[in-house]
């Protein structure tokens, strides 16, 4: 497992240079801290150490001491004599100790790496042109960095099954496997679903599922990311696109309040895959499989692609003007969304404050898996609290909206991406109440709305989400939105500027953050957008500590001691 952060540092000598590293850290990480790469396959900072790939062999030694007196033995030139361990040791399983000497670039080490590479490549197929891993393959990289460059192997290579189905989402190419066992350890340690193992011996060794089981847990695709070679492949991404074409954008998984950091890969505006991005405070290097499928919603059939007035297509301008006409001077009920970004929720709240509207919001709750799929299946419920859109924890499934409609308190509804019928709002009460709907996909509410304004998905816009631990994290635009669809911020700012006499708010993230920073008593007072863009920022959550949050204990998350509702 990852070496725990330790304030104590110890001095070691790395390649003849004295450096300080945290106590108890292993040599691979310690060297990496000081810019020396020790190549490795089986070691992963967030998994247990197996030490079976032998790629991280290094030379290690300690200063010699006289056994009787305990004095340091000096060389002729007065420097301490180093007692080198006669055989190289593996860096991943060697923790630093004070005064330790390490060689990562000596001839012996380089020779070891060359030998290990040669053995690894004996039966590894020359599949790179076909292999999906090519371009992000450790074996490929280290073969060029540390390999010998040509093959001495004249015998025939092994032939193994090329497309074994391990689970619904993972396909195994047996020939490419270098038996590092990362996937096995991951399944044991993170989702605690022990299904993978090696069978047979020698060159017959094969990764396989336990009899009668398959790799079908919701974290199975992490094994694909972990795999240093192209052995485990994602059945979804398999042979779809070469990784060197993909443009990566840092994003946040919108699936649940866990707020997994992700990398969204696209080519020419087309999304191809979502992979986890390492963040040791939030999600380590993992994310659930279900979150990786979300990119498909961008091109789904029920996407709203054009503005509509009374279900007839129109231009965005016409729709916005019509919306303002409907909303102006009326008693507005605003149904916000926990899927909106912090900025959008804030802007929506500004509209609400200036038009004396009533705010409603609905939480979406499902089962918590205790890892990275939290019970709150929206990415930004806490954003709604911070932006001031709601003070209450939205557990009541829009009951207050139903009541307000019952008593005819509302003239018009502004709904952000919410399905009112699914929230059991009485449809009869919606008769005669025009709805302005802003959202990405059609639902029963958009179908009955007077004005529909299409908006963008998480992958097509930038914004901020606040996760279950109150970390504010930014997500960035990965692909451009459909032609003619305005970003949510633009729509909201035009509604805001059209409905109020106040100062206009520009529809860009920076301007909105400047306004947010100026709200008195906000927890965002001291925090700028630049800070959040740099790294996740932990916000002060004491204001809401007595709310009945539904998330249970999970990876990197402790529920606050809360008053039972």
């Amino acid at each position: 497992m990852i070496s725990k952060k330790n304030s104590k540092v110890v001095p070691i000598v790395l390649d003849g240079k004295e450096v300080e590293v945290p106590e108890g850290m292993n040599l691979v990480d310690a060297a990496a801290l000081h810019g020396k790469e020790i190549p490795h396959y089986c070691y992963h900072p967030q998994l247990s150490v197996a030490g079976n790939c032998r790629m991280c062999l290094i030379e290690m030694g300690t200063p010699m001491r006289n056994r009787e007196t305990g004095e340091a033995i000096l060389d002729d030139d007065g420097s301490p004599r180093i007692g080198w361990v006669p055989k190289p040791v593996i860096g991943c399983a060697t923790n630093v100790s004070p005064g330790m000497h390490v060689k990562t670039e000596s001839e012996k080490v380089l020779g070891c790496r060359e030998g290990v590479m040669e053995f690894l490549l004996v039966n590894h197929p020359l599949d790179c042109p076909i292999c999906d891993q090519a371009g992000e393959c450790r074996l490929q990289e280290f073969a060029t960095d540390y390999g010998r460059g040509y093959s001495r192997f004249v015998e025939r290579k092994n032939v193994k099954p090329k497309r074994t189905r391990l689970g619904p989402r993972v396909t195994l190419d047996d020939e490419r496997c270098i038996l590092c066992s990362r996937c096995i350890r991951f399944c044991q340690e993170v989702p605690k679903d022990d299904v993978l193992g090696f069978v047979d011996r020698g060159s017959f060794s094969t990764l396989t599922c336990f009899p009668g089981r398959e790799l079908d847990n919701n974290y199975s695709l992490n094994t694909v990311d972990l795999c240093p070679v192209g052995a485990l492949t994602s059945s979804d991404f398999r042979f779809k696109m070469r990784v060197w074409f993909l443009k990566d954008a840092d994003s946040i998984c919108p699936e649940s309040s866990a707020g997994c950091n992700t990398t969204v890969s696209s080519r020419e505006g087309e999304l191809y895959r979502i992979t986890p991005r390492r963040n040791d405070l939030v999600n380590d290097s993992w994310m659930p499989d279900s979150g990786r499928e979300l990119y498909k919603s961008v091109k789904s059939n029920n996407r709203i692609l054009s503005s509509r007035i009374d279900q007839n297509p129109c231009t965005a301008d016409e729709a916005i003007i019509e919306s303002i006409r409907l909303l102006e001077g009326k008693k507005i009920g605003i149904v916000g969304s926990c899927k909106s970004s912090l900025e959008e929720q804030f802007l929506l709240n500004q509209i609400s404050l200036k038009t004396n509207a009533v705010n409603f919001i609905r939480g979406h709750f499902e089962e918590d898996d205790g890892i990275l799929l939290s019970a709150d299946r929206t990415p930004n419920l806490r954003g709604a609290l911070i932006s001031g859109f709601t003070q209450n924890y939205p557990k009541d499934n829009l009951v207050s909206l139903s009541q307000a409609l019952d008593q005819n308190q509302l003239d018009v509804l502004l709904v952000i991406d919410e399905d009112l019928e699914a929230a059991q709002v009485d449809i009869a009460n919606l008769e005669g109440v025009p709805i302005v709907f802003i959202g990405t996909h059609t639902n029963s509410t958009s179908n009955r709305a007077s004005v529909v304004l299409p908006s963008l998905t998480t992958f097509e816009k930038s914004g901020t989400f606040v996760n279950r631990s109150f970390y504010a994290q930014v997500f960035r635009q990965a692909v451009p939105g459909p032609a003619g669809v305005l970003p949510d911020l633009s729509l909201l700012s035009r509604l805001h500027n059209g409905l109020t006499e106040d100062e206009e708010i520009s529809p860009d993230q920076n301007s909105v953050w400047k306004v947010m920073n100026n709200v008195s008593g906000s927890v965002l007072k001291e925090i700028s957008l630049t800070d959040v863009r740099k790294d996740a920022v932990l916000l002060d959550s004491s204001k809401w500590s007595d709310l009945p949050f539904v998330e249970s204990k999970a990876l990197h998350f402790e529920p606050a001691t809360k008053v039972e509702a």
Binding site: P129, I130, K162
Partner: protein, 181 residues
């Protein structure tokens, strides 16, 4: 530093200054050229001799067993400076007798000849020796669409070239002779 040499030009003589003798020399040259052998090639009837290393229209080739060699690794698409190549990768279904062990092949392979600059990088980069700039130099069409060579056209232009590797045959042999695990 290179030494600068200033060349003194001799002053022109009187006859040179009239230019007339020089003009006469020029006239003599052009006149004698009139009776020399012509270098013109009567194009559609006569064709130039294309050298072996000529870089003509890029084509896809098949190996002597009539298997397509391209595995759609898309390196050519990546390296192509004018972005003329566009590949849609596809998986080869298991159990095709003539394509045993081949996992991947292009579903569609397009080279836009209006964009292609005949640089030959695609041939250079191809790890499977599947794309060759062959001797075809004349490509024309009536529309832009016609100038985009699709997979079918590329194989038709490419034909079969000798292969040194027979990668898939080797693998099949290895499997049959006891290396199968």
């Amino acid at each position: 530093m290179a030494k600068t040499v200033v060349l003194e030009r001799k002053p022109l003589s009187l006859s040179e200054r009239t230019y007339l003798p020089q003009i006469a020399t020029g006239l003599k040259t052009t006149f004698s050229t009139m009776f020399k052998k012509k270098v013109t090639l009567q194009y559609p009837e006569e064709r130039p001799v294309i050298p072996q290393n000529y870089r003509g229209v890029p084509t896809l080739v098949k190996d002597p067993n009539n298997r397509e060699k391209c595995v759609s690794c898309q390196l050519c698409e990546f390296v192509c400076p004018p972005k003329a190549i566009r590949i849609t990768p596809g998986e080869v279904p298991e159990g095709e007798a003539d394509r045993e062990h081949v996992e991947k092949a292009p579903k569609e392979f397009e080279i836009n000849m209006l964009r292609c600059i005949y640089c030959g990088y695609c041939q250079e980069v191809c790890p499977e020796e599947a794309i060759f700039l062959q001797q075809e130099y004349s490509s024309s069409g009536y529309s832009r669409e016609e100038m985009i060579n699709n997979k079918e056209k590329l194989y038709e232009l490419g034909g079969v070239v000798p292969d040194q590797h027979y990668k898939w045959d080797k693998k099949k042999k290895a499997e049959q002779e006891g290396n199968s695990h």
